[in-house]
Symmetry: C2
Subunit: 457 residues, 2 copies
């Protein structure tokens, strides 16, 4: 360690206290991330500030030492957004875990950036309220991490992404400046909405330390069905009809292509409510009270009469509902079949069918390539999962999935972010002028490129 590095660590320890700084063996005992469990966390130190003031002091110290900072939330991201180098400081939000307040009348909550999404959900539920963001990593993903990645998940169709759930936030800039925008207001037109700078920018413009979250009324109940359709466009028509009939209360619409459906309903896995040979399946879930179930059944009947739906199964109990969701959610079934590489892209709904057909045709020509596709298609979001082949095979898969997106006005990352993993793909869904404009903002807020350097671009 250089004398400068040593002086910086002393200064950081003085700010956060001796237990706030993790170095040496203890640091190497931590994995680099959830996707790299065998790789130790590479950093000069991991620093754990307790609040915004300590975070500000840490960033000021790093600025004066010229050290780079890599923020770290629940470490369950999928795009290598938190990987750090041996000369960098990793800043973990793990001690900022206070739920500071919850106002049931205004339906708002103030939480530290290290609070997990599950803890937010639970606190809301205890107050008779609901925090709609939900994703598989809810037990580890944090408020700060989901803000920095603008997380999506299972209910975006109805409630939006994390962007729509944050009323205000507090962030620390690269030079240690604390920017506090913690107003619990729905309306506040007083110039640039500063929180947008930190939503989805993966810690490259500032470190989020606290947020004011918007809560919602708890849903009164659900009607859930699995439908089979003649094609993807019919599935889109089902979605459209349900949105009209239930005034935007469709909370999930998950498209399942046949290979995915068959894989997830193999013997010993989820029980298949419908036969395996339809061209397209969708799980549709509507928020409604029990007395509206008849209207939901009428809708499905009408769609079957029109031929938009070929067959349908309604979940008549919570157990049946959970059974349907197991078809969608048991990612481990894909892993067991060796289908382990995950992709997350967006395509406009009216282009989706052609895109999937084209990409499947290209991948059919790749030796040993197995692929399944499914996704939150109501949000434009497709997930591909494929086998992990040797270099050239994987490169051919990547090309089949990513290359068409530029012409289709799609996105190389619907909800996972860019991180290090998708940096090379950014140009497929952002123009040179867009990237240049992002760089202008980055340089304005972090002129020395010390906040999560190398991520996104």
């Amino acid at each position: 360690m250089t004398p400068n590095a040593s002086a910086l660590l002393d200064r950081l320890a003085a700010i956060v206290g001796p237990t706030g700084l993790v170095t040496g063996e203890e640091l190497r005992g931590r994995p680099a991330s959830w996707t790299r469990p065998a790789e130790p966390c590479a950093a000069l130190a991991l620093v754990r500030p307790r609040d915004t003031a300590e975070t500000g002091a840490v960033l000021t110290a790093c600025a004066e030492a010229g050290a780079a900072i890599v923020p770290r939330g629940g470490a369950t991201g999928l795009v290598d957004g938190i990987l750090s180098a041996p000369d960098q400081i990793t800043l973990s939000t793990e001690r900022m875990t206070a739920i500071e307040s919850l106002d049931p009348l205004s339906m708002t909550m103030v939480a530290g950036s290290g609070v997990t999404i599950e803890a937010v959900q639970n606190a809301a539920r205890e107050a008779g309220l609901f925090f709609p963001l939900d994703l598989g990593a809810r037990g580890s993903a944090t408020v700060g991490g989901t803000i920095s990645t603008n997380a999506g998940g299972l209910r975006v169709l109805r409630y939006g992404m994390m962007r729509e759930m944050v009323l205000g936030l507090e962030a620390v800039l690269a030079d240690g400046t604390v920017v506090s925008s913690m107003r619990p207001l729905i309306k506040n037109n007083t110039g640039l909405d500063l929180k947008q700078l930190f939503l989805g920018t993966e810690g490259t413009l500032g470190i989020v330390t606290r947020a004011v979250l918007r809560l919602r009324p708890e849903p009164a109940g659900y009607a859930t069905a699995l439908v089979a359709c003649p094609g993807v466009d019919d599935g889109a028509r089902v979605l459209r009809a349900a949105q009209s009939a239930f005034q935007g209360r469709v909370s999930s619409f998950e498209g399942l292509w046949p290979d995915f459906y068959r894989l997830m309903t193999k013997p010993g896995r989820a029980t298949p409510p419908l036969g395996p040979d339809y061209p397209f399946y969708a799980i549709i879930e509507v928020e409604c009270v029990a007395e509206e179930t008849d209207r939901f059944l009428d809708l499905l009947d009408r769609l079957m009469g029109e031929g938009t739906v070929l067959d349908a199964a309604l979940a008549s109990s919570e157990e049946q509902r959970q059974g349907m969701w197991r078809i969608r959610d048991r990612v481990e079934n894909m892993n067991a079949d060796g289908i382990v590489r995950a992709f997350d892209v967006s395509v406009p709904l009216d282009r989706m069918d052609g895109y999937v057909r084209g990409a499947l045709a290209r991948m059919a020509a790749i030796p040993d390539c197995r692929v399944v596709v499914y996704g939150h298609i109501g949000d434009n979001n497709l997930h591909w999962n494929t086998t992990d082949l040797d270099g050239p095979g994987n490169a051919a898969i990547d090309a089949a999935i990513y290359e068409p997106l530029a012409d289709l006005n799609g996105s190389v990352s619907a909800e996972h972010g860019i991180g290090l993993e998708k940096r090379g793909k950014l140009g497929l869904s952002r123009s040179a002028e867009e990237i240049a404009t992002m760089r202008l903002v980055k340089r304005a807020l972090d002129p020395d490129n010390r906040l999560n350097p190398g991520k996104i671009f």
Copy 2:
């Protein structure tokens, strides 16, 4: 006119064609804005580009000539956001009025920035869809103007502000660079969400030329009631109960304080459905189908049983519903009584009652001051209207309304913006660090301060 100015006008005329440039008498025949009908538009010229490419060329020409640009949409803003100086170029979007496409399945529309909100609403309706943004100026307010001001209006509670209705947009930066982010995607996590730079920043960071708008299913119907409550906090409890009972489908919740209610229901004005002596009134509207009316009545009954509601009137026809809305909407009734100065602020819901009581008490001590208060309280948004007194009286009114906001975590502008009018108040709802951060972004995108200079700060 200087030789430089003359050369710039020649160049602009060559870009937009002779009818695209308005100068001299014709320019002076146009009013400065809707709020200043007698004041002529002060500018070197008004330029009317037909599309993004022409807008880019205009901004490049102005950049090379060092000329400032003031953008102009429907000119019905309320904060002097479009006032220009005699040496500046005013850029009007009035020729960018094409609705380029509408996709009923994806529920998206591509529109030029000069399209009025009414035209967007009508085109959506013709396709069996719904564009939720609505405000009194719908016939003149434009897509570009409502993006630049992040307009709100009557349905924010359910559908959000303009920010939530824009999926993508195209903007021209100060140097003429065209930044096109026209993807019709709900999910697109590829770094900074660039459209946020242009939403609510009043044309200070770029000129919006086109947008991809998100449409919604047409509401199936409404249940509408006027309720009287013991106080503001009871009103908030009514809102909260209705949001739970109707799963977030409360589309409007308008608080009316007694002086406002009495003024709007004077003889010859709207018919009062309830007596004039209750402490607080609210119009509540829920999106629902006709068969849900009984549930709405049950809710009102329950709230009356609890004492949260003292009396209630349900609109039993569309005519009665319109009658209730006339109590809220007929601004001309205030003007007729000389209550002409309009204020637009935000306050957290749990602080609202105390704030209004305090401000009313201060204004009661100002000689000849008459004041009424009402607003979209579910969005935290209060509108004050007051008499127009001589200088010291108006200054005392301003102080009574604005000064408490800083300590209450409120906002000096809920939905109107800052413009020139509220520049001096910005510091009451933005910290020095927030304003400094906004300035960093402004300098990065417009280093010579030529885009709508002097607005916001």
